[in-house]
């Protein structure tokens, strides 16, 4: 779960990391008022969770109220890589002499956190990592001890940060690590961490992504999640408790188990179709979950046909089949053709139960996917 810049900055500021003064605005008038309030120059920054906002015109620096109004008008409502901007952060423009990068993430290969510092801040750090890995100082953290003070210093000095600001940068990194730990972060980043002419450091951007599996112990962050959701269907999936990812194609996909659903997507692609989504309904297939899953897929206007792929393990195939029938019987008219493939325990009994005019049944995964791709082509609008 990704926090918005304005949310992450609030979290950082509360922990004592210096951030520029800023206000969130949802209308042009509010943005101009905020800019007047903060004092010019200010930056007007689109609050959408896509990288490269600046290049795409989502961040503008303005020197007076007139420019502020023009910028807010431009940015509010604009489309940034598929997302509509409905909030801007109006922020004090900081005069800087240097831009650093500091970040904390989980190195899954090592199974431990890694703290990172670079003097190449203000640009895409993944590009820096790819082109010049040595430009980023990395310090792995033993999660049982946490980050020792010397490790923060080591990362900072190894990165070549000036001695004048090294102590402050180490202290920001320490706080960032503590926040990352305390909030169950997956990634926490400040890019750039600006250095001013009088050797102050200030977080000009803020990234804080949270481990969704840990949200149960962070009710405050879980609240932010709702505010952060960008897509109506993804918000609905959160509500239903599904793992759901929206894609660009027209074959709706429902299945149980992440690997099997991914494989179904891959097969749709392999047989010439285009997957519209990833939707894992998880273990079991009670009628309610099946209904919700179909509701989600049918709600996606891109979808032209649906493949429903269930491998019954402990769950018996006949029970799954009954769930599917009950769910589909609730519709007066089934909006899109649904192909079902059922395998595993009691699959044959299940397929008999499914032998109605509600769905098309196929015996193998390959056949089911090919049939759904066919339907989607036929019914594509």
């Amino acid at each position: 779960m990704k926090l918005h810049e304005y949310q992450a900055k609030q979290v950082f500021a509360d922990a004592g990391i210096p951030t520029p003064s800023s206000q969130l605005a949802e209308t042009v008038d509010a943005a101009v008022d905020a800019a007047d309030d903060i004092g010019y120059p200010v930056a007007i920054k689109a609050q959408v969770q896509v990288g490269g906002r600046g290049k795409a015109g989502g961040i503008k620096l303005v020197d007076d109220a007139e420019e502020a109004r023009a910028a807010a008008e431009d940015i509010l409502g604009m489309d940034l890589k598929g997302y509509t901007v409905d909030r801007v952060l109006v922020e004090e423009a900081v005069d800087f002499t240097n831009e650093l990068y500091v970040g904390v993430t989980m190195d899954r290969g090592e199974g431990k956190p890694v703290a990172m510092v670079s003097t190449r801040g203000g640009v895409n750090i993944e590009e820096v990592a790819a082109e010049d890995p040595d430009a980023i100082a990395r310090e792995h953290i033993d999660p049982s001890f946490g980050m020792h003070p010397y490790q923060a210093r080591k990362a900072v000095y190894d990165a070549g940060v000036d001695r004048e600001v090294a102590g402050d940068v180490a202290s920001v990194l320490t706080t960032l690590y503590e926040l990352w730990t305390e909030k169950d972060g997956s990634d926490a980043e400040i890019n750039p961490l600006m250095v001013t002419s009088d050797d102050e450091v200030i977080a000009a951007d803020a990234v804080m992504n949270i481990d969704e599996d840990a949200l149960f112990r962070h009710p405050d962050l879980a609240e932010m999640q709702d505010e952060a959701a960008e897509d109506d269907l993804e918000a609905k999936a959160n509500e239903y408790g599904f793992d759901y990812v929206r894609l660009d194609g027209n074959v709706g996909i429902i299945g149980n188990g992440a690997g099997l659903v991914m494989t179904t997507l891959d097969l749709v692609d392999y047989y010439g179709g285009e997957p519209a989504n990833f939707l894992d309904i998880g273990g079991g297939a009670k009628a309610e979950r099946v209904t919700n899953a179909l509701d989600m897929v049918f709600s996606d206007e891109n979808v032209d046909a649906v493949v429903f792929n269930i491998f019954g393990g402990i769950t018996r195939g006949d029970e799954v089949a009954k769930g599917i029938n009950t769910a589909l019987e609730q519709f007066d008219e089934i909006p899109k053709r649904v192909v079902v493939r059922l395998a595993g325990t009691n699959a044959e009994e299940g397929m008999e139960i499914l032998n109605t005019d509600l769905v098309t049944v196929e015996a193998t995964l390959e056949d089911a996917v090919q049939r759904a791709v066919e339907y989607a082509e036929e019914d594509s609008q």
């Binding site: 290969g109 999660p143 690997g259 991914m262 891959d266 491998f311 995964l365």
Partner: protein, 289 residues
């Protein structure tokens, strides 16, 4: 022969009094697994499915000579349950629980490095040695005894592949679901090492998926250390970057690491054929044996 699980495996079930714990204890016992105890704080002295329950794993392991644990404890308490199992100690811990916070697992992983215990999972279907015992939630009926080792990050995908194998009469030595989380105990390389050392395993199926670099490391291990042939499968070819595909670990990073292409080409470079479909995996295994 087999790996990790055999006739001598004596299981304690952590969380045996919960709905899932109780149901799968019965299922495991029905399959022939020697479940000797349960462990649930405050429930000591009770019985579940005829099995005595203890308040601590340590007591269960001591009193009933358990040497393996299966963990059905909810995610908020599962990290602690894993520490408890590691400290008992038992030789094998199978963590079924899905949704354990990654930072909890990072600490467990550190502790694991200080022990000799094998941890399988979390967020995994378990381990089965067909005809002998299963530890976890795998549906026993689709497996059959034979010479193919199987290791997979995914549950139902494993069942799909096993189903294809079993249909053709290609039985399994042991199947290990290593789980779909970013930080897991036994990884592909660990599992491949076990299969390589197992005399009965004549071929291995390895079902990977997007995310991380575990498959790439496994490819290197195969190239450098394995005589037993391996057939691969990689799920998630169509996954977009930055999106978590169900499994917490199944995510292609924004910078393009963890892609299916990278994994497939690493395996192919190591001489490991990779099936485009689960059927093709079975085809390859059939050719080898």
């Amino acid at each position: 022969m087999s790996v990790l699980v055999d006739e001598d495996t004596r299981v304690v079930v952590q969380g045996i009094t919960g709905g899932e714990g109780k149901f799968h204890t019965e299922q495991m016992m029905e399959y022939g697994t020697n479940v000797v105890a349960g462990a649930v704080p405050g429930k000591g002295g009770q019985e579940v499915a005829g099995v005595p329950v203890y308040d601590t794993v340590d007591q269960a392991a001591r009193e009933e000579d358990a040497n393996a644990s299966v963990v059905f404890v909810p995610p908020a308490f599962a990290g602690d349950a894993l520490f408890e199992a590691l400290d008992a100690p038992v030789d094998l811990v199978v963590a079924i629980t899905e949704g354990i916070p990654t930072q909890d697992m990072s600490r467990v992983y550190k502790r694991l490095s200080e022990t000799d215990t094998h941890l399988v999972g979390p967020n995994c279907p378990g381990v089965i040695t067909p005809g002998v015992a299963k530890l976890g939630i795998l549906p026993g009926n689709i497996f059959s005894s034979g010479n193919v080792g199987l290791v997979s990050r995914s549950g139902t995908l494993t069942y799909q592949v096993v189903d294809n194998l079993t249909e053709r009469g290609l039985g399994q030595t042991t199947a290990i679901g290593i789980g779909g989380d970013p930080i897991i105990g036994t990884d592909f390389t660990d599992a491949l090492e076990l299969f390589e050392a197992d005399e009965e395993t004549e071929a291995v199926v390895m079902c990977g998926e997007i995310g991380g670099e575990d498959e790439e490391e496994a490819a290197q291990f195969i190239a450098e250390n394995m005589d037993t042939p391996v057939v691969g499968f990689i799920a998630g070819r169509t996954a977009p970057p930055g999106k978590r595909m169900g499994h917490a670990g199944a995510i292609v990073s924004g910078s393009g690491t963890g892609t299916a292409e990278s994994k497939i080409s690493a395996l192919e470079d190591a001489g490991t054929p990779v099936g485009d479909t689960p059927e093709e995996v079975a085809d390859h295994i059939e050719e080898i044996l």
